[in-house]
């Protein structure tokens, strides 16, 4: 697992490659990929369409096109006012859990990855090996014992129950180590030391800056993992005002599927609530594209 970054990754040279120096383009290939594109976006299109419909229209009109009525504003209003406005709590909880977990996990991984990559302390290889092995430990095998431990120390049903387990990200540490090896040359560290900078100042002012794309990558992917987490909060929390959006929506959906009749009005809540909750993450991915794509490429530079 050594870094062989002899030639600059092509991502760094940017658009030059994608033009492929006048290589022939294939309509057939493009068409095939467009079909895949449609498959992957169609459910999201359905979600947008469904969020504009009232319960009645949902059942009476064709699912993949807009109905006569435009109930989106009413649906959005209902989402934010249902059950005393609990949806706002869910969104804020999700954002808080995800940001704290992802920020913490990325920082721990950056510190640790740098420590493992650049310091030959005793036990380095052994400890790193132990962390690598843990990548394969299924998180669900951990959730039940963690729940029992947390319930003994009174952490169950608090935000910490969701945040603490998400801070340990062995794969993030691994990525960071690979990234440090590729992006932080020893010569820069030596130069900073000769200038008399302390080790932690070097980390803060030199290393973190060089690590930015890798840091954003680990941050973003941990953000997605915690934003999308369902199993852990489902087990750890039973107070609806602490739920993240995933558990909350699943609860609404359960109410919607209990039976027909009046519960049918919950379906637009689930649909519109789902749509609103995925917008922030999609926006984050689109806006931070350059960072995470370069970060992934750097993470891929390994044999």
């Amino acid at each position: 697992m050594t870094v062989t970054a002899t030639a600059p990754p092509r991502a760094a040279t940017g658009a030059a490659h994608s033009a492929a120096a006048g290589r022939r383009r294939s309509p057939l290939l493009t068409l095939g990929m467009l079909a895949a594109f449609v498959y992957f976006l169609l459910p999201l299109f359905w979600l947008v369409v469904a969020a504009t419909k009232s319960t009645g229209a949902l059942f009476s009109s064709f699912g993949l096109w807009f109905g006569d009525d435009f109930a989106l504003p009413a649906n959005v209003r209902n989402v934010f006012t249902a059950d005393g406005g609990v949806y706002v709590d869910w969104l804020l909880n999700t954002a808080m859990y995800a940001l704290v977990s992802a920020g913490g996990a990325a920082l721990l991984a950056a510190l640790g990855g740098y420590g493992f990559a650049k310091f030959a302390f005793r036990g380095n290889r052994l400890l790193f090996g132990a962390v690598l092995g843990a990548i394969m430990v299924p998180s669900t095998a951990l959730v039940i014992p963690t729940y029992l431990i947390f319930s003994n120390v009174g952490l169950v049903n608090t935000p910490w129950a969701v945040i603490l387990p998400s801070l340990a990200n062995p794969f993030g540490l691994y990525l960071m180590r690979v990234y440090v090896e590729g992006a932080v040359p020893d010569s820069i560290l030596e130069a900073a030391r000769i200038d008399g900078a302390g080790e932690f100042r070097i980390f803060r002012q030199v290393v973190l800056r060089l690590l930015a794309p890798g840091f954003v990558t680990v941050l973003l992917f941990t953000l997605v993992a915690t934003w999308n987490n369902y199993f852990l909060p489902l087990i750890m929390l039973n107070n609806p005002s602490l739920y993240p959006v995933t558990v909350g929506l699943a609860n609404w959906a359960a109410r919607a599927s209990v039976g027909g009749g009046g519960t049918g009005d919950v379906i637009p809540l689930v649909v519109t609530g789902s749509l609103l909750s995925i917008i922030p993450l999609i926006a984050a991915f689109l806006m931070l594209q350059r960072y995470w794509q370069n970060g992934l490429t750097a993470g891929g530079v390994k044999q």
Binding site: S18, F40, F59, G63, F119, S139, T140, I144, T146, G300
Partner: protein
């Protein structure tokens, strides 16, 4: 004054290496508290058993012996194994072809298409499952609507015959784009000289893909495969959410993970649940190593 005998530079570097502990300590602290300790605790719990009379008592490997002959558990393990053997090759095959197509530079709109295929990854699994369950549904699902409009019998995607395929479709929808991006990133990291050399030798796009690109992707593919092993054997969210629409098809032991969940929180048998999740972890580690071994052997 023995310190004086050590040359200053070596002393400085030894002290500096000691600083390494301070850098890795925060991670390791959380690692021990959140991974090692729960794992050890689960192992400990799995060796005990709660009796109606006499409370909790040491039972050795009884829980494991019980688990190995527990038909509901074995059914679940078989089901997720089948899922793994069918869904993962389809998903990774698609991801690989998409990544190669994008990297070939022979497409229009490749940037838009790449992002579009990746987008489902940003959708939480819970929401993906809810969305697809409505799409599959017989009441207002467009699949049923289309079939009826064409006068065809609507497929019951939530029946016991098709359920596993329906779950597989959701998981494929969620993660193909993610794997594609990982593979695509690995492709971009291949030094250009390799292609140029192959092109000079007169190799076409297909030859280059097969002889240069795919071998270079081996580590990234292996990683994707290992994560897919873990994901398949831990399957929970999608079937748990579909269960509400088809409670007769998906029972509480549909996947091993659903089984441990219901053991721990509905039957309140945490000792047995701990043993089952330990065994499940073991299955995952064994399958992961088998996969790695198989891939490593092929190379030689």
């Amino acid at each position: 004054m023995s310190v004086m005998t050590v040359p200053p530079s070596r002393r400085a570097s030894a002290r500096r290496n000691g600083v390494g502990y301070l850098f890795v300590a925060p991670f390791l602290l959380v690692f021990v508290a959140m991974l090692v300790a729960p794992l050890a605790y689960a192992g400990y719990l799995s060796l005990f058993r709660e009796q109606l009379i006499g409370g909790v008592s040491f039972s050795g490997l009884d829980n494991y012996i019980q688990a190995l002959s527990d038909e509901r558990l074995l059914d679940g393990v078989l089901r997720v194994s089948r899922f793994f053997l069918v869904q993962v090759p389809i998903m990774l095959g698609l991801a690989l072809s998409f990544a190669l197509a994008l990297d070939s530079g022979m497409m229009w709109l490749s940037r838009v298409i790449r992002l579009g295929i990746f987008l489902p990854y940003a959708v939480p699994g819970v929401i993906a499952a809810l969305m697809w369950s409505y799409l599959y549904g017989p009441q207002f699902g467009p699949i049923t609507q289309l079939a009826e409009a064409l006068g065809l019998p609507a497929p019951n995607l939530l029946s016991s015959d098709l359920m596993l395929g329906s779950v597989a479709n959701i998981v494929t929808w969620e993660f193909t784009g993610y794997n594609m991006i990982i593979l695509y990133a690995a492709l971009r990291a291949i030094p250009t000289e390799l292609y140029e050399a192959a092109a000079v030798d007169g190799a076409g796009a297909w030859r280059i893909a097969w002889n240069v690109k795919i071998p270079a992707l081996r580590p990234a593919l292996l990683m994707a495969l290992i994560f897919s092993v873990i994901g398949s054997f831990q399957l929970f969210n999608e079937p748990e959410l579909l269960q509400r629409l088809a409670p007769n098809v998906i029972d509480s032991a549909y996947t091993p993970n659903m089984y441990t969940y219901s053991m721990a929180f509905i039957s309140q048998d945490v000792n047995y649940a701990a043993a089952v999740s330990f065994l499940l972890g073991l299955v995952i580690v064994v399958v992961s190593y088998t996969v790695q071994f198989a891939v490593a052997r092929r190379r030689t």
